[in-house]
Amino acid sequence: MTVNLCGIELAHPVINGSGTFDVIAARRVFGAAVDEQFPFSAFVSKTITIEPRRGNPPPRLFETAAGLINSIGLPNRGLAEYLREELPQLATLPVPLITNVMGSNADEVGVLFEALEDRGEIAAIELNVSCPNVKTGLDIGSDPAELSTLLAAVREKTTKPLIVKLTPNSANVALVAAAAEAAGADAVSLINTLRAFAADPARPGEAWLGGGTGGQSGPAIRAVALAQTVAVAQAIDLPIVAMGGIATAANGRQFLDAGALAIAVGTESFRDPAAAGRIGAALT
């Protein structure tokens, strides 16, 4: 089953969740096999910001029942290094490239959109308005009016397909999705991690994670992700990229049946980098 996502041809319906697969590191570990056996039908970059970000202090992970809580903090080398160093390496992948960006306001997002506009290697932009570790993401992506205002200011800064990644940490995700549709998004992706707290076993009441709170991912959130996918599919006509705890083709099928056009695998890739390829093959 090939998929047409906003004009981008995908060989199968499985892409990666932003920030869950590092092509450049994987090539160091697995060599050419990464490209030869690339598991995703498109590659979504980690979140790129204008300035470099070091990320949160460790510990950054906490294992839970059927999943984990992370507090990574969007480490990246910044827009200029991404364009100069990383994009040429990502562009040799055998699949279309989607660049995920985040800005703390419309001016920043506009700068990011304009910088990507002339880069033909990039097939689409995914806008992160949903990271629970960063204050701006939560504020903009959890409020329909805030999101409308942002998108209205930046939509015309790019001619590339624009995928808005929704946060699950909102009162009504369908209303946020409808706002994205009305303000010119070409697709939505959901869900990002659910805001979560990992209690330090040795220090009652204190946070385990260096960043304070984190985001829960993995099979533990799959039913929540499916409910939000159903709600958004009923509310809008845009293509949906659905994710949240997908670990098998049967899991993925449920999201496609709920109205998603494509799905993304994230945390399961941590357990097996080839998992998404198996799921994609089974759903093709």
């Binding site: 920030g19 869950t20 697969f21 590092d22 590191a25 994987a26 160091r28 570990v29 697995f30 060599g31 096999a33 990464v34 030869e36 056996q37 070091r54 990320g55 202090p57 460790p58 510990p59 950054r60 992970l61 294992e63 839970t64 029942a65 059927a66 999943g67 984990l68 992370n70 990574i72 480490p75 330090d200 040795a202 385990w208 260096g210 993995g218 945390t267 890739s269 941590f270 357990r271 097996d272 980098p273 080839a274 998992a275 390829g277």
Partner: protein
């Protein structure tokens, strides 16, 4: 100083192998498996391991993620691993018996580099940290190099692990086996005798930090094998970072686990690592 990148690359994707041998040595569970698909690893590299069956629903409804486990020895297609039970993941791995399925990804990470020509290697291990050092010892002895092995354990029961690293001088916290005291005392004595030696270390965070400080202060080239909880082991999750001397965060799994002592920030333990 940067450790040379001598990693052996892994097949892409997790593969299933069968457990072929098991042995209990004191508190340590040693198990072997036959890995026909993978290459021979270098000392200091590790694998992400989980059981094929019943991985999950243990204590605390875990484990969920595979566990990063060092290799003790590699001979043809046979790999040996050592487990000490510290949580639900290692508990399940320690239950594996011959014939059980093991999910494996690896070899992963960058291992140890050989010392410069003529320099002696001092291996300094703490607890289960002796595992990658035992493999390094075999690599060096095979190459005809001079090696001194020092290992510290908390007590006599754990000191049973010294059986797995040939000719090691042992220190125990309670003095029940070998020298009473810290393995770093043995290390300082060895450095007094040979200041050109190269130090190879793996052990619990505080011991690793003590050896880091000794290495930096003495000027001896020092290769530290870090241990950190990881979700993926191959650079995807950015969860296993340590603070580097330049202030950046480095991933233990791909930028390590072996890192030069002078590349680690002096306050790396205070930045979350001590928990």
């Amino acid at each position: 100083m940067t450790i040379a990148d001598s990693r052996v690359q892994a097949p892409f994707g997790a593969r299933e192998v069968a457990v072929t041998t098991t042995e209990q040595i004191g508190p340590y569970r040693v198990f072997g498996c036959r890995d026909e698909l993978g290459p021979r690893p270098r000392a200091g590299q590790f694998y992400m391991l989980s059981s094929s069956d019943h991985w999950g629903a243990g204590s605390d409804e875990r484990p969920y993620l595979p566990r990063a486990i060092s290799v003790l020895a590699a001979d043809d297609d046979d790999l040996l691993f050592v487990i000490e039970v510290v949580g639900p993941g290692t508990e399940r791995l320690a239950q594996l018996v011959e014939g059980d399925g093991l999910q494996m990804l690896g070899p992963l990470g960058n291992g140890f580099s050989a010392p410069d020509e003529g320099a002696r290697a001092i291996l300094c291990g703490g607890g289960i940290g002796f595992v990658p050092l035992a493999m390094m010892q075999q690599e060096l002895l095979t190459a005809g190099r001079e090696v001194t092995a020092l290992v510290g354990f908390r007590d006599g029961a754990h000191a049973a692990g010294a059986r797995l690293i040939a000719g090691a001088q042992v220190a125990t916290d309670d003095g029940s086996v070998g020298n009473e005291g810290l393995v770093t005392e043995l290390l300082l004595a060895e450095l007094d005798r040979d200041s050109n030696a190269v130090i190879y270390c793996c052990g619990p965070p505080r011991m690793l930090d003590a050896v880091r400080a000794i290495g930096v202060a003495s000027g001896a080239a020092t290769q530290l094998a870090l241990e950190a909880p990881m979700a993926c082991g191959y650079g995807a999750c950015y969860g296993c970072v340590v603070k580097a001397a330049d202030g950046s965060y480095r991933r233990s799994c791909v930028d390590g686990p072996v890192i030069s002592a002078d590349e680690l920030a002096p306050d790396w333990l205070a930045v979350g690592g001590a928990k």
